[in-house]
Every structure is written in C-alpha cells, then in structure tokens.
C-alpha cells in the first residue's frame, strides 16, 4: 500500500536528550496512522547509525537514539529523508481471536454496556460483529491496540486501575480495544478474556500480528475455554 500523501504534514519535537517525537498533523486520522506506521517501519529498517528503538502509534513516532553516535539533527535529517522515500505498509492478514465475554472473564461488561445504553448481548454483538484494525503493537508484551467498530460513546477508564491484569484480558477504553498479554497493571474496562496465548517467546516474532492486520473476535462459551487454551500457533480456526 502506497501512501496517498507522501509529503506528510508533521512536527518533530526534541523528546529528551536522546529522543525525538514525530507528530503527524494532517486532517485525516487514517492517513496520520498510515504515515506514522510507514515511517516507523522505515526507521526500523534504516541503517542510520545510532537508532536504538522506534515506537510508532496512532499518529506519532518516537525514535530513541544513542547520543554518542547520533544527534537530534542527524536523526531528524534521516526522518525527513524517509518521509520522502515512499515507505510502504505490508499487506494485512485477518486473525480470529476467541473471547469468553462477561462473567468472571469480563467483569466490566455490564457497566460498559450500560454506558453505551446497550444490553450486554448487544455489546457483544457490536464488539464481535465487525473487524478491528491493529493500529500498533505495544506493551505490556506485544499487546495489540485496535480500533474500528463504532462504539456509541467514549468508554471511561477504570476509576482505580488494576494492579495485575489476568493475561488474555480484553479491555475497552475510549473507542479502542486491547488484549493484555501479561499480568501488568492496567486501567481499561475488562469485558472478556481470550484463552489463546498470543505472546509466545518460542516463536519469532513472538506475536503473530503486526500493525495494519485485522482482527475479528469470536464469542465462545465457558465450556469451550479449555479447547482454546493454547499458544496461538497451535490454534486452528
């Protein structure tokens, strides 16, 4: 996929003594995201000396660099070069992820449904009835950050964040959804859980998906849990 607007409008901020934050600013959300992801991919592949890591998200790219080998100036010059070099996103893959919604698996399902003025069943249909897009892969350990379906209202965060999420927990916040792959702290409303282990260090890469991939959620019942409870690469859908 080629970018529609190659000379993307953007701002570069110094972000500490060894970091830069690129902020894409043009009017279209989808384009800002494509530009951020394309630049992220290009920077990761770049031979530019001194790039330590790249975090590309909805409309931003955070580049950290080794200050003994690079400078804000040299990295910004590389960014300008790459933005002009027509980076491409890889073709999308569709993943199906089974989810046990509600009950102990999704203690906040009823609350979120009531915020949306829906029944829990209607919320499950809305959440699982359409495809989501993976906007980026972040922490904790390979968490997919997704959006797509029209959630009626922006979902508030938990008033008190949880200290330890149960791995596999499916969170909703704002208009986004996420899966916590690890027992990290977290502040998103939990509406379900997947029995599939998405993060697997015995595989390279340890998560099967990448930004731009699509996901549909498959509602499963409690008694189906055990048959799905395995690493992602052993799951056949």
């Amino acid at each position: 996929m080629q970018l529609a607007n190659l000379l993307a409008e953007h701002l570069c901020h110094e972000y500490g003594d060894s970091g830069i934050l690129v902020d894409f600013t043009n009017a279209d959300y989808e384009q800002r995201w494509q530009q951020a992801q394309a630049l992220g991919t290009a920077l990761r592949a770049s031979a530019e000396l001194g790039i330590v890591d790249v975090v590309s998200t909805y409309q931003n790219v955070f580049v950290s660099f080794n200050p003994l080998r690079a400078s804000h100036k040299s990295i910004m010059a590389e960014i300008e070069l790459l933005i002009k070099s027509k980076p491409a996103l890889r073709p999308a893959t569709l993943f199906k992820i089974p989810i046990a919604y509600g009950h102990d698996y999704g203690p906040n399902l009823e609350f979120v449904a009531s915020v949306c003025e829906l029944t829990p069943t209607q919320l499950i249909e809305l959440h699982s009835g359409q495809e989501w897009t993976i906007r980026f892969v972040g922490s904790p350990v390979g968490a997919p950050f997704l959006d797509g379906p029209k959630i009626p209202v922006s979902i508030p965060r938990l008033t008190t964040p949880l200290a330890r999420m149960i791995p596999g927990s499916l969170g909703l916040s704002g208009f986004q959804t996420i899966i916590y792959n690890a027992p990290s702290p977290g502040g998103w409303q939990i509406i379900g859980r997947t029995p599939v282990q998405l993060f697997d260090l015995t595989h390279n890469p340890p998560v099967p998906y990448a930004p731009g991939d699509r996901v549909s959620f498959l509602p499963i019942s409690e008694r189906e849990w055990d048959s799905w409870n395995k690493p992602f690469h052993e799951v056949r859908l």
Binding site: G16, D17, L21, V52, V55, N66, H72, V137, S139, V207
Partner: protein, 348 residues
C-alpha cells in the same frame, strides 16, 4: 584457590568461580536491560542506576553491559569459593570483606573463602556488585534483567549459588597484593535532589509552564521501577484535547488529570496518553532511580545543549576510567581480564 573446573581457552586459564549467597534482601542478577524491542512491546528494564552499573563493570575490566548483581534497599552476604576481582558501586558507602571495611567505587581482590557483606544503604537504594568475568545466568531476548511482565528474572536468596566464568585466579596475584586507586568520584544521594530535564512536547499544558516544576515535590512510597510518583503542589493544566497514546521515553515527566507528577522509569510501559511536560536527562534518571520515598525533588528544565554537555562529560569520564583500568591491568599482565568489548556503551 577453591574448587574450580578449569578449561583452557585461547591459551589462557578460564575458571568457573562460585559464590554462595548466605543472606540477601531484594537482590537480583541484572544488566542494562532490553532495548530495541518496542515493535513487540517489550519494556527496557535493566539496572535502575545505569551509570553505577556500568561503572562497576568497568572497574573490574568487564564490558559495561555485562551481567552483575543489583542490591535494592537491602543487604547482601556472600561467601566466595574462589579468588575474585570485584567492585561495589552505587548507594552503599562502604562494605566489608571478612569484617574489614572497604571503600566502594574501587577495584578489589577478594580471596577464596572470604565473606563479602554489603550493608543496606543509608541513602540511595541501589548498590551494584560486579565481578570480573561472566555471571552464568539465563537470558530472555538478550538480557538477564528481570521483567515482571515476562515473569522472568533471577533473584538471589540464601543458598543460591552463582557461577562466574572468569580468567581471574591466584596465579595473577604475584608476590605483592594488588591495590588499585582509581579515585572515581562516588555519587551522593542526599535527601533533597535537583533533577535536570529538558522541555517536553506538552509543556504548554502546564498553566505555570516549566517553572511550575521548580516547586518542591516528595517521592511517594508507591514508586517503583515503572514510575516514580511525586506528591506536593498539584499542577494546574490548561484545558486541552485528549492525547492519543504514543511512545514515551524513560525519564518522561507526566502530569495526571489530577495534577500529580509521575516520572517514568525503566520498567515503564512503552506508550501512554498523559501530557509529557519534561524529560529527565540520562544522569537525572539514574539519580531518580536512587531516590527513596520521602526524598524532596525539584525538576530544573535546562536547555538541550546543557543536557548534552552534561551527558558528554559523564561519558568522557567513564571512557577515561576504562582506559585507566585497561592500562593498570595491562601493567600487571592482566590483559586477559579485559573484556573484548570493554566499555562499549552498546546499550545507550
């Protein structure tokens, strides 16, 4: 010399030395952490006080990113079963070998059968023990460093035995007992600290601007390796739109909607959506990781060239020290103790 399995490697004697942990508080096998793994959502982690960890390794001739022992706000007692070359840096002001007190921040020989006692620090909270050679410990994604999200890490408890592959042995001691005086300045960890930072992208959201950070804050007890929480003056924010989650650097100074300050440390999640009003300099991040609950903190926003000059000076000092260590070891005929990538600064 104690029990050793000896092998011959490139004509030099390589031994497996052992240390036995007798008593340990919160003590872990550590290194500089995992970098470059944002694409799979892995946090950096690694030694909280990176310069003290690097310094300890440099003092014993290791690469600055080699595995070492991090002792957090507690003590460690180990018995050594082989002659070892060690250095202790970070928060502890002194430590004991067989009840004889020694200064930290120097290179020392410990004889087989000795007991090393590293006390809990009076000020600061992270002490590092480096040992010449390679500590044998499992790694994940290239690092021995603990990561609670990966459910990984090696904690030392009473009874733990650690192996170290080292070229150091009694034959290197010769007739005179080696003494080193590198006189590298040991940092202080006072109860009031001033952290240098550069301006963050959202500083305009602070009603008082960067000057608002010069107020005195207090480190809260719920601080950890993920973030330092500060209490004090509630900072007023300008009403502005939502910030979409984006990558956040270690050292980011965030303001929560209630006006509380959080400084992100090495275990941070990679993305967040709070305003970032400043970013600590690298050495200020090390200082922050040493600050105990109750420490008074002010944040001084300086120009980028001031921050970069400070960084260049600190790196210059560490680089100079590694050259002096290499010279001192070479003078004694200890070339084989020097790591090939001695002081590579690879994980910066």
């Amino acid at each position: 010399m104690g029990l050793m399995e000896q092998t011959i490697s490139r004509g030099k004697t390589l031994s497996i030395a052992k240390i036995q942990v007798q008593r340990a508080g919160y003590v872990i096998v550590q290194d500089l952490g995992r970098t470059g793994l944002a694409a799979i959502g892995i946090s950096a982690n690694g030694a909280g006080d990176q310069s003290s960890a690097r310094l300890a390794n440099i003092l014993v001739g290791n690469g600055d990113g080699d595995a070492l022992i991090e002792i957090i706000a507690s003590e460690l007692v180990v018995k050594v079963d082989s002659d070892l070359l060690i250095a202790v840096t970070g928060a502890a002001k002194s430590f004991e070998i067989d009840s004889v007190s020694h200064a930290t921040h120097e290179t020392l020989v410990v004889l087989s059968g000795s007991t090393i006692f590293i006390p809990a620090p009076v000020n600061g909270q992270r002490t590092y023990l480096a040992i010449n050679g390679q500590i044998q410990a499992p790694t994940i994604l290239g690092s021995v460093g603990p990561d609670s999200f990966l459910d990984f890490g090696q904690r030392l408890i009473g009874g733990t035995e650690l192996s170290i592959e080292t070229h150091f042995n009694a034959e290197l001691l010769g007739s005179d007992f080696p003494m080193f005086r590198f006189n590298f300045p040991a940092p202080n960890h006072p109860n009031e600290i001033r952290l240098l930072a550069t301006v963050g992208p959202d500083v305009d959201r602070l009603k008082a601007g960067a000057a608002g950070l010069e107020e005195q804050f207090t480190v809260l007890p719920q601080s950890d390796h993920v973030g330092m929480r500060l209490s004090g003056v509630d900072l007023e924010l300008v009403v502005a739109g939502e910030i979409l989650s984006r990558g956040v650097p270690i050292g980011a100074v965030e303001v929560t909607p209630s006006g509380e300050l959080i400084i992100l440390l090495r275990g941070r999640l990679l993305t967040a959506g709070y305003p970032v009003v400043a970013v600590l300099t690298r050495s200020a991040i090390d200082q922050a990781s040493q600050a105990t609950p109750g420490t008074k903190v002010t944040i001084a926003v300086v120009d980028m060239d001031v921050a970069q000059r400070e960084l260049a000076e600190k790196e210059h000092l560490l680089g100079q020290l590694s050259v002096r260590v290499a010279q001192a070891f070479s003078t004694r005929g200890w070339q084989q103790l020097l790591a090939v990538d001695h002081s590579s600064f690879r994980n910066l």
